[in-house]
Symmetry: C2
Subunit: 403 residues, 2 copies
């Protein structure tokens, strides 16, 4: 394999946010264009759900008051911010976190994931990945020359657990996988792993000496009083465990590129070494914004979660009203993974048509696993009315393509 | 090799900016502590030389006025910023740059370097690296499982060229290297490649089908009316060429983590794919700050360069006054690579002593090549008087350790 062949598999053409760069070929447009407010469901809308109050002020203070001491920090992050953030993350998750040895600040949670994976894979290593799961996971494994073992997540029919195939996970460990990477809440389905599932994953990893990377990006935004289990706080855990969080989603701070990873000191050390050659550090001034994370005004999180629950419910009502269309109601986060009936155009073709003819952008299921030809993902952190109307438009258009 | 062994070689303990995390063992301190303003020469001081006027205002506008359109951008950067920046980079370098296919915005120039190297190395590939050169270069090659071929830079005695061993470069290409990565002005020596050298490098790379990555981070800050040759504007160039620049140094915008790479479209495409899984993008809000780059107030660059020339001259006077100490006067950028006489403690030990006993932080030469046991690098973008006094303290202390 040469470098061109290696990168040929790492496509970004269908990735969220890249749609504007596509050179669309001629599309099979049917019926009149459906007018309405354009909605880009490929990511959240931080105009509709604003960044955490005070975030820009913290950035500005960092530039003007702290100055050079904020611009340059150790690679793992500014010590005073690590000291301040670690107890807040501990308080939320229930895990003990030493600020100096067990925590690193990164350019977004994507940066944290890349560092965690890059610090744990050698070429040829087998890596277990849930399927469906965050699209970058598989790409990172490919980039680092790992060998992916997909672990099915049978999410559709479950309600009290995510539906991970634990037997398949054990089989992957038996086959030599020493790393398992998964998101909880799951991206793209929005389902939450049960306490039993989390304990089983932890026990299996411990038994086989495997490393776990748990992407908890959306773990603050849980609906309907559901219980969320932090693997990092379980008494039985593997020796090597990295938990990843960040304020890009619920907190709408994605534009600042802030992420955090905490866990096993030896792994955090390796992640810092990689960060030193990757991007040096999480943006120095940007780090100042961490101070508002887990420090939001009283009731802020409850109000944000409630606003998103309302959008979820009203989108689910739209979804449930269409014959042959289904989705598991989101349990945590802002994603819905919607299953479509058979169409007479391909999924990718229909998604391009929806963008061109109904001003609705969604992400194809194939980004989350090659077999998801009948699914698309939406991030419903959008203006409520615009989102509901956009989903209605999409399904109205879909009727013209139903087989 | 396992993952622990791989990372064991990627040390960051002696890297610039990491000094505050060191757990120093007991040091052989001699004489009284030398008082003075602490100076950290490991990087520039953005309090002494302020960020470009208007930079914070652009960031704030990006957050408040552009909002969601600034927070999320395509992975390679916001289209309007690419469109605006490309002609300015073309105007400066003389190279044609298509904004849509030949330019990518990155989290700092470190991010650009990592993407460029990661998009051009497969495990086992031979890579030519100048020595001395930027410390991360060798680490990136190791991280990506490349095999480094050092190309000596005989900088000490030259004045009209950098002193790259072109015969060694051709030999490396003959031995199979298909990538050469170098900085111009050179980091750490501050010397500039002559037009002849640049043309020879370009011709050799073209002849052997090699890819060039040229790190031009400090190319706006050239002293004494010297001619700087942009390889990207030469008529004879290799097919695969990436040029890297950014406003972190001369412009003191490091805290925003901004970098840019331009060149061969196919390589930029691969870099974007890697950026998509590395950190998604250069921080969205941060990208707004690019608007002040190559858009500075009239005379701003001249004044900044002149201030640094003055510091260079006054530091060179200190260096020249000490027996057995030498440095090649900086031709571009803010680095001096200072050669010390034999001491009766190791270089690393002396550097720790200088930090503890004279409040002066410098970077050991061994970060730039394993053989540089008698050198240290300073970034003299500091307060003028504090810098001159700090260098005097360092050499006064050094006398107590001279062999």
């Amino acid at each position: 394999m040469n470098i061109e062949e290696k990168f040929a598999t790492l496509g970004v053409d269908n990735a969220p946010g890249q749609e504007s760069l596509r050179k669309d070929h001629s599309l099979d447009l049917r019926g009149p264009a459906l007018d309405g407010i354009a909605v880009d469901f490929s990511h959240g809308d931080v105009d509709a759900h604003k960044p955490t109050p005070g975030s820009l002020g913290l950035f500005t203070e960092g530039v003007l008051l702290t100055g050079a001491g904020q611009a340059y920090t150790p690679y793992r992050g500014k010590s005073s911010i690590l000291e301040s953030l670690a107890p807040r993350l501990s308080g939320f998750t229930g895990a003990a976190i030493d600020p100096y040895s067990e925590l690193i600040l990164t350019p977004g949670t994507q940066g944290a994931l890349f560092l965690a994976v890059g610090a744990n894979i050698m070429p040829g290593d087998k890596v277990a990945i849930a399927e469906p799961d965050y699209f970058a996971n598989r790409k990172m494994v490919e980039f680092f020359h790992g060998e992916m073992i997909p672990i099915p997540l049978v999410w559709q029919t479950q309600r009290d657990k995510a539906g991970l195939d634990l037997a398949a996970l054990e089989k992957a460990f038996q086959a030599g996988a020493r790393l398992f990477l998964f998101s909880n809440p799951n991206n793209p389905t929005g389902c939450i792993y049960s306490a039993d599932e989390i304990r089983s994953i932890a026990a299996l990893a411990a038994a086989y000496g495997a490393t776990l990377i748990v992407d908890q990006l959306y773990c603050r935004q849980i609906y309907d009083g559901r219980k969320y289990t932090h693997l990092c706080a379980e008494s039985e855990r593997p020796d090597n465990l990295i938990t990843i969080m960040g304020p890009s989603k619920t907190e709408s701070l994605s534009g600042y590129r802030l992420g955090a990873a905490f866990g096993t000191a030896a792994v955090i050390d390796r992640m810092e070494k990689l960060q030193a050659i990757m991007a040096l550090r999480c943006g120095g001034y940007n780090q100042a914004v961490f101070e508002c994370w887990f420090n939001e005004p009283e009731e802020w999180l409850a109000a944000r979660t409630e606003a998103h629950r309302q959008i979820r419910d009203d989108l689910m009502a739209v979804i449930d009203s269409v014959d042959g269309v289904s989705a598991r109601p989101t349990e945590g986060g802002s994603y819905l993974f919607v299953t479509l009936p058979e169409l007479d155009v391909s999924l990718h073709e229909f998604i391009r048509i929806a963008r061109a003819h109904a001003a609705v952008t969604v992400t194809p299921g194939t980004e989350f696993g090659p077999q998801f030809h009948h699914q698309f993902r939406i991030n419903f952190s959008q203006d409520h009315d615009a989102a509901v109307d956009a989903m209605r438009r999409l399904f109205r258009l879909m009727e013209l393509y139903r087989k």
